[in-house]
Subunit: 333 residues, 2 copies
DNA sequence: CTGAAAGCGCTTACAG
DNA sequence: CTGAAAGCGCTTACAG
């Protein structure tokens, strides 16, 4: 027994494909088909284990009820949770989500956009990569519906949902200052993404204001070489004369490795060095030292992105929506 | 400018759809089309930004080069990493992966299977839910290609890739005994899934062998009420007379909450109570107390599952492949 | 109340 | 060397 199609059901009952299709898709209008026949069709469909072929429907209707999601790394809990929220929420509107990864590679981002378009997704939600501007620009000029999340390019007018990276980072750094830190380092990615430079700017301005700014305490990490870069940076920052007493870490992956290395050097947090992180690592709660962090409203980010995208898909609204949500500081205990 | 199809290119060049299709899909045989025309077609396709409609191709060929992945919770890093590996590996064979969630609900599992089949995926990789046997049985009788991962039903003959839950749990428990624990508790889900009962069995047998088994020290947790159940269990286990000195935690989510609560009670790990966990929480590394855990070979699980599935899809092999991989204990420092 | 027919974009035997 | 035509499974005007 192969797959059951509308045609099979129609033949079985001696009616036309049209009648079966109308009934099964719930589009049958009053008086179109007799009550009797409606019931028969429903029963037969169930009995024959009919499952609609969404590909065929999509081809015909020019719409697949599918959203493509492109994240930087699905194994990172931040993106995992974001993907989860997007999927749960999109499902409410009858959309399926196809999740793909770029691993922060713009080549892969291009590829994923192309694959997802080939699969006729109705729209895209994208966490863009470092050198992804060109691909995003092309998307804009082709009027393909999409929303950027987590990051955006300020010089390209796009839908996007991001957080207040600058303010949050500034407040976090300020909090370290208030806790008495005099030499506060920053670990940040070396990419040119706006959200990253905003985090850096928040750090820099808080320190400048306090007269504590020292560019030598900024360490730029390469994503492809995280482990080594972070370890070297921490080692250098905690060496004899330079020895910092505070650290602001700009992402959760950097934080993980950095904190590990600090402990490896047999230093105590927060006694020897105070740490503040961007993004939560659930583990912060279970360590005896409770590390403060900036927490992003992941569910809201996901929901807003879906709302904007579906609105554009279904109403072809041409204007762009740009949302900046507030990332809070965790309560420090 | 709407979407560009093969027809558009054919008209542009005054050739037939067949010729264009053959060239673009790389199926053109020696002498079928002149070199000149091949080049022209390729160039025009590029110039017009042609992107093949994979839906249409899938409809025609009865094959979509798509794998459906159904996990219990994509926001759980274990499944996030698994999804990541599956996706990366499947891509090498030209397959796209659609990831979906069940939240451990069998109703949702049914729904996801149906949605993915409607989308004409070529096969499924499934982390089955507690009461999911019926759906899995149906899949077996329908001869739809699929592989179970992480969990399986011993009474249903299916392809699956799992780990040696029994042995690993037994060894972990044994290790706690060797560390001098006399009263070792177990936190485990209350579901009837085989992998869970195997973890329990490993714990029980290790204790029985040592003459330390006490069924009152087993606490069953309900997935829908994790937080409260774990907290209550920990509170109870650490009360006056019962007070345990060891804990084996059967999953990473349970571990997180449990360890938190232990610390909340102002107890020290491992001085007051030793803990051993199934599955890694990256955070174990950054806490000052290094908690030992059982680590599953996630990349291998993913790869094996993809290998088995693609083999079944492409070669219609009828026999089932069942793989049990070895989960190691983390090195305790 | 219902059916015949066209067409979404693709591939592939078949005919020339 | 190349094209016309059928058909994958669906939906939807149109005709009766």
């Amino acid at each position: 027994m192969g797959k059951v199609s509308i045609k099979n059901i129609a033949q079985e009952l001696g009616v036309s494909n049209a009648t079966v299709s109308l009934v099964l898709s719930g589009k049958v209008k009053e008086g179109r088909v007799s009550k009797d026949m409606i019931e028969k069709i429903m029963l037969t469909a169930k009995a024959m284990h009919y499952e609609p072929n969404i590909l065929a429907r999509g081809l015909r209707m020019g719409k697949t009820q599918t959203i493509g999601l492109i994240v930087a790394d699905i194994s990172n809990p931040f993106f995992g949770q974001l993907a989860f929220q997007i999927q749960e929420y999109a499902e409410k509107f009858g959309y399926t989500v196809i999740i793909t990864n770029t691993n922060e590679s713009d080549v892969k981002m291009d590829k994923m956009i192309s694959i997802l378009k080939s699969r006729q997704v109705d729209g895209l939600i994208i966490v863009p990569t470092n050198h992804g501007e060109l691909a995003i620009k092309e998307l804009v000029t082709s009027h393909f519906p999409f929303v950027l999340v987590d990051r955006h390019f300020p010089q390209i007018p796009t839908n996007h949902v991001v957080v207040n990276n600058y303010v949050a980072s500034r407040e976090a750094t300020h909090s370290l200052i208030q806790d008495g830190c005099k030499k506060i380092a920053l670990l940040v990615y070396d990419n040119k993404l706006y959200h990253m430079s905003e985090r850096k700017r928040g750090y820099v301005e808080a320190l400048q204001e306090a007269g504590l700014y020292n560019p030598e305490l900024i360490k730029e990490i390469n994503y492809l070489n995280i482990q080594e870069d972070v370890i070297n940076s921490i080692n250098d920052l905690l060496k004899g004369d330079k020895k910092v007493d505070g650290l602001f870490s700009a992402t959760n992956t950097i934080s993980m490795i950095g904190i590990n290395q600090i402990l490896e050097l047999n230093l105590k947090i927060p006694d020897d060095i105070k740490v503040f992180c961007f993004d939560k690592n659930s583990e912060f709660d279970i360590s005896n030292f409770k590390i403060p962090y900036i927490i992003q409203p992941i569910p809201e980010i996901g929901k807003k992105a879906v709302d904007i995208l579906i609105n554009e898909i279904e109403h072809h609204s041409a204007d762009t929506t740009q949302i900046e949500l507030v990332a809070q500081m965790s309560v420090i205990r």
